[in-house]
């Protein structure tokens, strides 16, 4: 189980406001998930190189050639709020 402080810390990083109830619930749930992932540590990985990707692919590139831009009305179609052609967001700090 995570501590309440740890839950508050990750909640702040994710900009989430949690009630006391929720903090308790997530402390339990996140703790369970981490405990489950911890099982992997029981495996002996001494001879296994670290893997960042599961697919045997490397060096996939594109050429430096211009393509289509999205029209502004589409760019902003899902914006919760906008002003002119800008996305509008709450004050950040």
């Amino acid at each position: 189980m995570l501590t309440i402080q740890e839950v508050e810390h990750v909640a702040l990083l994710a900009r989430l406001e949690l009630s006391a109830e929720e903090k308790k619930m997530y402390a339990q749930q996140l703790g369970d998930i981490l405990a489950y992932a911890q099982k992997l540590n029981q495996l002996n990985t001494q001879d296994v190189p670290p893997t960042a990707h599961v697919l045997p692919l490397k060096n996939v590139f594109r050429d430096d050639e211009a393509g289509e831009h999205l029209p502004p009305e589409k760019v902003l179609a899902n914006a919760p709020d906008k002003e002119g052609q800008f996305f509008k967001v709450p004050r950040i700090v």
Partner: protein, 477 residues
Amino acid sequence: MEYEAVIGLEVHVELKTKTKIFCSSTTEFGGEPNTHTCPVCLGLPGVLPVLNKKVLEYAIRAALALNCEIAEYSKFDRKNYYYPDMPKNYQISQYDLPLARNGYLDIEIEGRTRRIGITRVHMEEDTGKLVHQGTITTTPYSLVDYNRAGVPLIEIVSEPDLRSPEEARVYMEKLRSIIQYTGVSDCKMEEGSLRCDANVSVRPKGAKEFGTKTEIKNMNSFRALYRALSYEVQRQIDVLEEGGRIVQETRTWDEGRGVTLPMRSKEEAHDYRYFPEPDLVPLVIDRQWVEEIRAALPELPDQRRQRYIRDFGLPAYDASVLTATVELADYFEACVARYPDAKTVSNWVMGELARLLNAHNMEITQCRITPEQLADMLRLIDQGTISGKIAKTVFEEMFVTGNHPEKIVREKGLVQITDEGAIATVVEEVMAKNPKVVEDYRAGKEKALGFLVGQVMKATRGKANPEIVNRLFKERL
């Protein structure tokens, strides 16, 4: 107690590819807000970023120019943070396996060479731009433009090898010069294609351990870099002298007030939860390709400077100034190709030309005097058509109008008077008008001659050949 500064710089350079690092949107500067965007750089669900090969090539080229080792294996990582300058809530960067490491560049400081280590060079995407009303902390809301989001950047991290604000400034200038020579970026600090953050600490001179450091942001010019670092170093010394201790924090340079101020941290310090970017496959960098890029590296500033000293016989100072930018060096060489006396060309380029460019706040690329015209003007001096003094007037006229020197000389009647008879008449008039000065000279007052010559120049509006004037006076006195 005597202190020394310990400074490391993190420099971001925008690469001048046509398109963004992971999508085909244009990198062009400006444009209406959010028009240079596509589903990939807007971070819409289901899209797949793909690395622009030109970005990798440019990054390798820059890293090689900085004497780095290029990694055999490299990958991208996600740097997670919640801040709306990126629509995805993370920035694609490189964490533990950067493209290149262990480089250096040499700077000249107080006549000696100092080698500054380069820890690493990595690739990442630039962020969007936020527009605030007033300041970031008082604005009621912010507006976001993602045109810049996804423009390719390289980050160049130096070792904490710099020991003064002056060294930091010289390092930054040298870095800009090298990168600019490689042709991968414009490196315009004022336009944001070259940006710099600094890690600064101080310690008693000679101490081995580092002091607690602060990170300084928002330095948007070479002057700002120098001023901000000078301020911060002194601030830290003052804190320590008063028995206080330095708080590790990020501070922002306030250009108007000339101070660094603590920034409220936008993130719990460096809690970026990096992890390998699952949408991009790893890079296994072909050695032969690296060697091809190395072989194709253009002549770099140090090599060019050495060549100017060796082949043109220029003083080290001239060579450094002339090779600071590719454009200036190219201009200088184009002039020398047409007028082989390199030192004379250097004097004019570093003297009159630099003065005029400065006064008009212009770059060498905007200069209207062509290398042909500059060479032709120098020949007019050699031929005795104009004096060196008149040449400065002609040169200024060339600078303003872009006209050929011969045209200016002809139209303004600036041709030098070399007719001895005509000059002799003026010389005698001047002697007749100034009997006292003539006597002074004859009594041994050498300086009196200068006054008499000056009078002749005044009467001929500077057009009399000065050697003839001098000789005629000496014959008569």
